[in-house]
Amino acid sequence: MKARVHVYLKPGVLDPQGQAVATSLNHLGFEEVSAARQGKFIEIDLETADAEEAQKRVAEMCDKLLANPVIENYDIELSA
């Protein structure tokens, strides 16, 4: 089983990387870009068969390590 975890900044937390991406894209002529946000994307291979169990465990991984609750939120997608 595979988990795809997105970790991104909470709304309201300044995202200089995202801003730099948007500005750079504008400079490069992509004027349709009005904003950008940058986050992390972590793909985890799990030796678990049970999806419910996996969901619970991956959430725990996020709380314990993958995300910093002071500034970040996360979401989890599972696939076979």
């Binding site: 300044l14 200089p16 990387q17 730099a20 992390k40 390590l65 993958l66 002071v70």
Partner: protein, 221 residues
């Protein structure tokens, strides 16, 4: 004076820390490898040095903060042992929950290394008492993720309780309210991005960091 410096894989200011502690206190610290389960007994001072623990992968300090030795560090903090975290050490203390807030990528997105003006916000801590009326120091900085963040409530509390120990004279990284170093509520844990251990020698980075080490030493005697 019995002190220790914790060495994580990827720590790289451990030697700087040891040199500074020995220079100021006259005693060499014990270097404690991250894999050990506990710190030595009866320590007067613990330093968590700078560097790139675990390559700074995932988030700076995140993996180190969850390593076995850090669990014991947390216990020592709770027992009131003075602990100084510098640069990556500050990041580790924050990730370990010993200090509030977060340290994010520098606003300018680049690594910044310079001799920076640093303001002593209070000399009422056990780390800064020696600075007395001295308000401005020059201390080297060198980091990529030193942009201090906390919500308004936390910031107000830190200010209100006198937990802001240092501010930048020339905010190099976008830190909230120019914060460069904070203590915990108890006053025994200080985390700061600038490197006082690189400022204990006129032939290297100046001597403005000496008083910080002298203050801690004085406070334990």
């Amino acid at each position: 004076m019995k002190s220790a410096v914790i060495v994580y894989p990827g720590s790289n200011c451990d030697r700087d820390a040891a040199v500074a502690i020995e220079r100021v206190t006259g005693h060499a610290p014990t270097m404690v490898w991250h894999g050990e389960s506990s710190l030595p007994e009866g320590l007067d001072f613990i330093m968590v040095p700078g560097g790139f623990s675990y390559g700074d992968y995932l988030r700076c300090g995140a993996i180190a903060a969850r390593s076995p030795i850090t669990a014991d560090l947390i216990k020592q903090a709770e027992a009131g042992v003075p602990i100084l975290g510098v640069c990556n050490g500050f990041q580790i203390l924050i990730e370990a929950g010993l200090l509030p807030g977060a340290l994010m990528r520098n606003e300018g997105l680049h690594f910044v290394c310079e001799r920076a003006p640093l303001l002593v916000e209070t000399s009422q801590t056990r780390f800064t008492s020696g600075y007395g009326d001295t308000k401005e120091l020059t201390i080297p900085i060198a980091h990529h993720d030193g942009n201090y963040f906390a919500d308004t409530e936390t910031l107000d509390r830190l200010e209100g309780e006198g937990q802001v120990a240092f501010r930048y004279g020339n905010n190099p990284n976008g830190s909230a309210r120019d914060i460069a170093g904070i203590t915990n509520a108890n006053g025994n844990v200080l985390g700061m991005m600038p490197h006082p251990e690189r400022a204990v020698d006129a032939k290297h980075g100046g001597t403005d960091g000496v008083k910080l080490f002298e203050s801690v030493m004085g406070s334990v005697q």
